[in-house]
């Protein structure tokens, strides 16, 4: 004989029963071995589904995609209106202090990306493997999280303008690296400008001042290293 409570077990697992239904079902479970076993089995199924891992394609799927892309090349000025992505840094810096903190973190990420790409320019080619506590070679090789760790103060005076440093280094850096750096510079400069604006609106706010100072210090560290790599890079 079919136990009608069996049909409610998935809803019970998913928390979709109301309080009264849940109480009735739990009372039933206390006295029904079969439903308890079924409940455990269903929970095992859900757990198995949650534990499935994604796997890379076994064959070179990209080749087919590339052929498809070649059949319909994109042109930025082909009559379509490109919608620029919203700039997260600027958006966050125009608001509250906590949001400014989040933006400062993003700035650190941009700085890290710049340092990491610069390091790639100084390295020995593409395809470097990830090792925890080290840096990555190229953006498309990076996993979700990149950790950069350093604890030594900079030894050389900081140039005043990262753009000027990049201009001087342009001849020796990879064009892709330069492009990413330029994007980072644009975002960093916009963020710093917004931070100044936030301080004008709330002058003397120690939190805002600390965040700005910290961001400037980090930016200067990248500037110094960009110059160093340009001179010493391969």
């Amino acid at each position: 004989m079919h136990d009608p409570w069996t049909d409610r077990l998935s809803e019970y697992i998913d928390g979709e029963l109301n309080a009264a239904e849940m109480e009735l079902l739990e009372r039933h479970l206390a006295g029904c071995d079969e439903c308890r076993v079924t409940l455990q089995q269903l929970q095992d199924v859900v757990a198995a589904a949650h534990s499935l891992e994604d796997r890379e394609p076994g064959s070179d799927v990209w080749a087919g995609i590339a052929a498809g892309l070649a059949a319909e090349p994109r042109q930025a000025d082909a009559g379509t209106q490109v919608v620029p992505l919203r700039r997260a840094v600027a958006r966050r810096f125009t608001m509250s202090a906590p949001q400014l903190a989040a933006a400062a973190l993003l700035l650190m990420a941009f700085s890290a990306g710049a340092a990491w790409l610069i390091s790639g320019a100084a390295g020995n080619g593409r395809g470097a493997d990830y090792q925890q506590g080290t840096i990555f070679h190229a953006a498309h090789d990076a996993p979700d999280d990149v950790l950069l760790v350093g604890n030594q103060p900079a030894q050389t005076p900081a140039p005043n303008d990262l753009t000027a440093t990049l201009d001087a280094a342009r001849a020796t850096l990879d064009p892709a690296t330069v492009e990413v750096l330029e994007r980072s510079i644009e975002s960093i400069n916009a963020a710093i400008a917004d931070a100044h604006a936030a301080l004008e609106a709330d002058p003397g706010n120690p939190f805002l001042q600390r965040q700005l100072d910290s961001t400037l210090e980090r930016r200067d560290a990248v500037i110094r290293r960009a110059g160093g790599v340009r001179r010493g890079g391969t």
Partner: protein, 193 residues
């Protein structure tokens, strides 16, 4: 990886203490470039998301169609990049695009009755857990589900969509989604016994 003096100098001199560069930020840069026609940037996007999309395709459709479906998803994404406005992470947008495409693909191949009318309770499990690769067997068990039940099981229990979202995507009510999910789970539990 190489630890050149330049790399070491960068790491040492930087006063950074802890920095995270996320996939979303890399996507943001590469989507912008891909919109301008940079296929290499789009390939980087593909490399970052291929495992998740290909696995979704293999589970929603079947493994031998997964390569074709994955290609279709990324080519569709290439065409539709202008529609991505950055309101959500690109990965979220891409995943939803893939789900919609796979559902549409399945709808053209099977009738509603084929998708939801099969008696999943009467199905035989594909094997027992006497093989070492349990996860592969569980994936095989999922493939024995009728298309509709399989879609709902994958979307709810693997991908985490709600019954309301699934109902919207499949054009069914949430009650149907719940009952199909339960039937799918009841079928799959036989395999795990």
């Amino acid at each position: 990886m190489d630890r050149t003096p330049e790399r070491e100098a960068i790491l040492g001199a930087a006063t950074l203490t802890s920095v995270t560069t996320t996939t979303a930020e890399l996507d943001r840069i590469d989507v912008d470039r891909a919109r301008a026609g940079d296929a290499a940037a789009f390939e980087r996007i593909y490399r970052r998301h291929s495992a998740r999309i290909h696995s979704l395709c293999a589970r929603m459709v079947n493994p031998h169609e997964a390569d074709d479906a994955t290609q279709e998803v990324f080519i569709r994404a290439w065409r539709k990049l202008e529609l991505f406005r950055g309101d959500s992470a690109f990965g979220t947008w891409l995943h939803r695009l893939a789900v919609n495409l796979l559902i549409a693909r399945r709808k053209t191949e099977t009738s509603y009755q084929d998708r939801f009318g099969t008696d999943v309770d009467g199905m035989q499990p594909p094997g027992r857990r006497d093989r070492p690769d349990l996860r592969m067997d569980f994936e095989a068990a999922m493939r024995t589900l009728p298309a509709g039940a399989k879609e709902i099981f994958v979307l709810h229990d693997v991908e985490g969509y709600t019954h309301e979202e699934i109902g919207d995507m499949l054009g069914i009510n949430s009650g149907t989604s719940k009952s199909q999910l339960h039937r799918a789970r009841m079928s799959l539990r036989q395999y795990l016994q």
